[in-house]
Amino acid sequence: MRRIFAGVIMLILMSLVTYVLFFSGGLHPERAACGKNCSPAQWEQTKKALGYDKPAVVQWGEFLKGTVAGRTYPEDKALAKANPSLVSTCPAPCLGYSVVNTTNVSTEVKTAFPVSFSLAILAFIMWIVGGVFFGVIAALRRGTVVDRGIVGVSLIFYAFPTFWIGLFFLKFFAIQWQIFPVPSYVNLTDSPLAWLGNLVLPSLTLALIYMAGYVRMTRAFVLESFGEDYLRTARAKGLPNRRVLVKHSLRASLTPIVTMAGLDFGALVGGAIITESVFNYDGLGALAVDSVRTLDLPTIVGLVVVLAAFIILANIVVDILYAVIDPRVRLG
């Protein structure tokens, strides 16, 4: 409970920082809305209509109020009264209205989120399963060709730029050999099979980068656990090797892996920018890039809040898992 509260405070502060930094940078978000041949008078008018004339802190206050009470646009009350047909509402929790995309930010996020989340979760499963599996094999065969091969190959994937691996997959697996479809996002609810098939290549691209780290981490922690006294005890009991590995060694190695995985996953939801653009997925990463390019302030703020909330949530989940895994945390 305390952590959730702290998380909310953090989100509020982060949105404030975004507003303040944005305007202290001398950026003019109204510019795009005003059009190509924008006279100074029109500029001022647009600025006022969008509410960008107010101090950053006031705008931030309105944003906060909107998240609780909802908002109506345009900001300029006189303008709204004069043209009732222009008024659009943004029900609570309102993250703002994107003039650039002429839609509410929450709608944008709602459309893009499933794309990024599907990508992230599939990549997550791939890299955890692959990372732990190959990490354990490398540990068991430490010092041999197998070990060096696994670590080396995972490093190669790690070292290659994401876009290169992505394009490689696209070119060969999708276009040349046609093993997988040329990916385009399909809703899970529309066709689970198509959803999965289309996600394989992009998720694998994403997973391969993370996998290298998990292979090495698993390998290191499994090897470390081999030196633990309790592993010697397990062997001294006469347990078969497999049971020593799975019950005693892996269980102990799991804690740091879960911690890392949770945080990586939280960050990945909004961070798969390159992969999303290579495969033309309209996820949160793509949305973020666009919003920055067009100085779409409401979308930027909305994304900051949503993505930060996700990371904070991931942190809380990791903490809970920690207690589930380690009785010393649970029972004090």
Binding site: E228, Y230, R235, A236, K237, R243, H248, P327, L331
Partner: protein
């Protein structure tokens, strides 16, 4: 592996166990670890015997090879790059020549081991009952429930109060002494013939130490097991052991019945160990004299007698023998099966005239009076 494949199953091996043969017989045990810096000679030519119901104490400074020697009996070095030679005959079977799987089946059932630090020796994520029950289940085809019942029974036997509740506690919820009791319960749950206790009380405070040693002695009487107890503490040896083996730089330097080793030791290193014990003879005036110098490197042990750089008596040996020739294990002048590894010709005189008066003046006077 070819050896294991060609050798018949243990049942068909003719019973080659003359009535006089001891339960455990270690012959010329050698354990070397090849490392990048060279070969670590952790154990070299170690031999000893142990009967059921008896206790052997192994003493020696840190790094003298005590743990390596004893964990080799359990086969824990298998699968590593360690070089192991010699024979470890347990009840007539050479543990060094059976297959890995056969060794695994004996581990925890015929030979069990308890370790120095019971906190790190138990898995932090599993309950005490789970870990003890697991030791039972791996060697008995029983249900989880039966294993748990057996674990409770053993916890009760080693003196854990409310065992039916504590069985579900995690190791960190136990006190140090209780954890070591739990480890003992785990070690004895399959009623092994041989129990190896590697510094079982070092991590515990003094009153708890005494309780644990009492418990071990009780259980030994009840189960008639052979015990190897490894320790730095000659007090523990005096209380527990029937025989003592003193190790230095991977070798046995003195071996014999406890009483003789403690009262008539014949090797300068053993003298040094005795001098560094405050109260071995119940003598309050005794002086605590630590052995000067550091334990030798096992990568590059000193030539000749490995103890010579620290020995105060090498000038009593003619020539340069101590520096050039490794002394053999030879019978001590007290006779019996007391052996020592030292070039001194009359160690008993040096002990009586020089060493004893120094470390236990009262005792020395008592011994002198009848002759004076």
């Amino acid at each position: 592996m070819t050896h294991a494949a060609s050798s018949p199953a243990p049942e068909t091996v003719p019973q080659q166990r003359p009535s006089g043969q001891p339960f455990l017989s270690v012959r010329d045990l050698l354990v070397h670890f090849p490392t990048v810096d060279g070969v670590v000679k952790a154990t070299d030519g170690l031999s000893f015997d142990l009967a059921r119901g008896k206790t052997l104490g192994i003493v020696g400074e840190s790094g003298s090879g005590k743990s390596v020697s004893s964990s080799t009996i359990l086969g824990l070095q298998r699968g590593t790059r360690a070089i192991v030679k010699g024979e470890i005959l347990l009840d007539g079977t050479d543990l060094l020549s059976i297959s890995d799987e056969q060794m695994r089946l004996r581990r925890g059932r015929d030979v069990a081991m308890i370790f120095q630090d019971p906190l790190s020796a138990m898995h932090p994520y599993y309950t005490v009952g789970n870990q003890i029950g697991e030791a039972y289940m791996v060697h008995h085809d029983v249900s989880k429930k039966a294993a748990r019942a057996r674990a409770i029974e053993m916890l009760d036997r080693v003196g854990i109060p409310q065992p039916d509740r504590r069985v579900d506690d995690y190791p960190h919820q136990f006190s140090g002494g209780m954890r070591q009791r739990a480890m003992i319960a785990m070690g004895l749950i399959n009623d092994p013939g041989l129990l190896i206790a590697d510094e079982p009380t070092t991590a515990l405070d003094v009153t708890v130490q005494a309780q644990i040693l009492d418990l071990l002695q009780d259980l030994q009487r009840e189960f008639n097991s052979a015990i190897i107890i490894i320790t730095h503490d000659l007090g523990v040896v005096a209380e527990m052991a029937d025989d003592v083996l003193v190790m230095y730089a991977g070798r046995c330097v003195e071996y014999g019945p406890t009483k003789e080793i403690l009262t008539q030791p014949q090797m300068p290193y053993t003298w040094g160990l005795l001098s560094s014990v405050p109260d071995v003879a119940g003598d309050t005036e005794s002086r605590l004299v630590p052995i000067p110098g550091n334990p030798p490197s096992l990568l590059n042990p000193p030539s000749g007698c490995a103890f010579h750089p620290r020995c105060a008596h090498l000038d009593k040996v003619p020539g340069n023998l101590c520096r050039t020739d490794l002394p053999d294990l030879t019978p001590a002048t007290t006779g019996g099966n007391h052996v020592k590894r030292c070039h001194l010709v009359h160690p008993e005189d040096v002990w009586a005239k020089e060493v004893l008066p120094e470390i236990a003046p009262e005792l020395a006077e008592q011994n002198q009076e009848p002759t004076a």
